[in-house]
Amino acid sequence: METLIDIVKIVTVMGILLGVVAYVVLLERRVAAAIQNRIGPNRVGWQGLLQPLADVVKLVMKEDIVPRNAHRFLHDLAPIISISIAMTTFAVIPFGDSITLFGRTIKLQIADINIGVLYILAMTSLGVYGVTLSGWSSNSKYSLLGGLRSSAQMLSYEISMGLAVIGVIMIAGSLRLDRIVEMQSGWMWNIVLQPIGFITFTVAAFAETNRHPFDLPEAEPELVGGYHTEYSGLKFGLFFLAEYSNMVVASALITTLFLGGWQIPYAAEMGLSGNLLSVLQVGAFCAKVLLLVLFFIIVRWTIPRFRYDQLMSLGWKVMLPLAILNILATGLAILLIG
């Protein structure tokens, strides 16, 4: 029975995640159009709502082209690594408290592991492989440069990302993500207690997901398409999917660690309880994640790209010292205030 519940949870969450990702692509195109004073895709279905479906069909139908001197096996493997890591990271994120169905309490989290935070850091550090392998196996200079830039960037920002989380762990006193969310009841969200940690983590998340203004690995004017230049059809689609899933997962992570997760302030005072409250909490979680995704999109279309040396000096000379100072300040505050 437990296994059955787990399978149902996995299938539901995966389905919702994939659906959300498809519509995030549409959201991005519509927001970009609005910012650039265009209309954007609005022909397929009402307001273009069937556009993601059409895109998927198009990508699946396209021919899969592999360059002649590419390393065939690794060329096939790279997009699979990218998408599976993006999806498995979501497994530990608590998207709600718990729900009671047929007299059985179900926790709204797929895998409740003791070292959830470390699991997430380990998974994001594996994400480099997808990009590096695709860049190398394509046997193309643009791909290789994209892969090279991406690995250096992800390795650099991973460090400040990990250090930014330490402040949160110190306050919560636990590596469990559900415990971290429980600690942020009311308005005591970690963004209030850890403003510097929030900023460093968010910036690092932008860099880790290769999003603007850190999207040097796929800078179109310089590298054609970056590490996925030589990909087409479904394999390109997988990279596309991985990029947007990474964005959704990063938003979910920021929500969990800094924006109170599924917590609704003053929900207990309003006299809500039981399943209704749980459903509302899941709604609150989704709303926070969507707002962050919107933030990611707006940043992409308003801020110009960094130069590569600016990116590296920001990472090592600003973000890293800030994150370390944040740990020291948090430690001092805990020592003095308790």
Partner: protein, 171 residues
């Protein structure tokens, strides 16, 4: 055979098989990738032993950090500059002596040690807290010494890789 046994033998096969590829493969890229599976297999052993923190650290540091650098170095030297990295046999006689000495020592330790075969008790839900406390109390000195050594290595690496500014200005 219980499920745990099956998992153990699976990880053992993965670790040993991929380790063999690391050593015997003529293509250095395959060696680097086989190392990935070796690290994963070892992480699996840690999980089976109830050492969740060490398992995830193994992934985080070896797979996510060190191996990325290694794979990257191998890829860059092997394809971009088109230099063939030598992976042949050198100094077979000396190597044989060193390897047999090392293997003998390890085998001796293996047979001399009294292994605890009792099933591990899960005292804590996670080992992370206890490990941290131990590092900050009983093992503070080794911990600090190790971190200073790492810091020295970091500074040294930065010094070595840095361009020599004074020479450049003189030229």
């Amino acid at each position: 055979m219980t499920l745990i046994d099956v998992i153990f033998w699976f990880f053992a096969a993965v670790t040993l098989g991929s380790a063999a590829v690391v050593v015997f493969s003529r293509n250095i890229i395959y060696s680097a990738f086989a190392l990935l599976f070796t690290f994963f297999g070892v992480a699996g052993f840690y999980v089976l032993l109830g050492a969740d923190f060490i398992a995830i650290t193994q992934l985080l540091i070896y797979v996510g950090g060190i191996l990325v650098l290694l794979v990257f170095g191998v890829m860059l030297t092997n394809k971009v500059v088109s230099v063939d990295i030598k992976s042949g046999t050198l100094n077979a006689g000396v190597a044989m002596v060193v390897v047999s000495l090392t293997a003998g020592t390890i085998a001796g330790i293996f047979y001399a040690t009294e292994w605890k075969t009792a099933p591990a008790e899960m005292l804590q839900p996670t080992t992370a807290g206890e490990l941290g406390t131990m590092m900050m109390t009983s093992y503070l000195l080794p911990f600090e010494v190790a971190s200073v050594v790492l810091l020295v290595a970091l500074i040294g690496a930065a010094m070595v890789s840095r361009r020599d500014r004074s020479k450049q200005e003189a030229a």
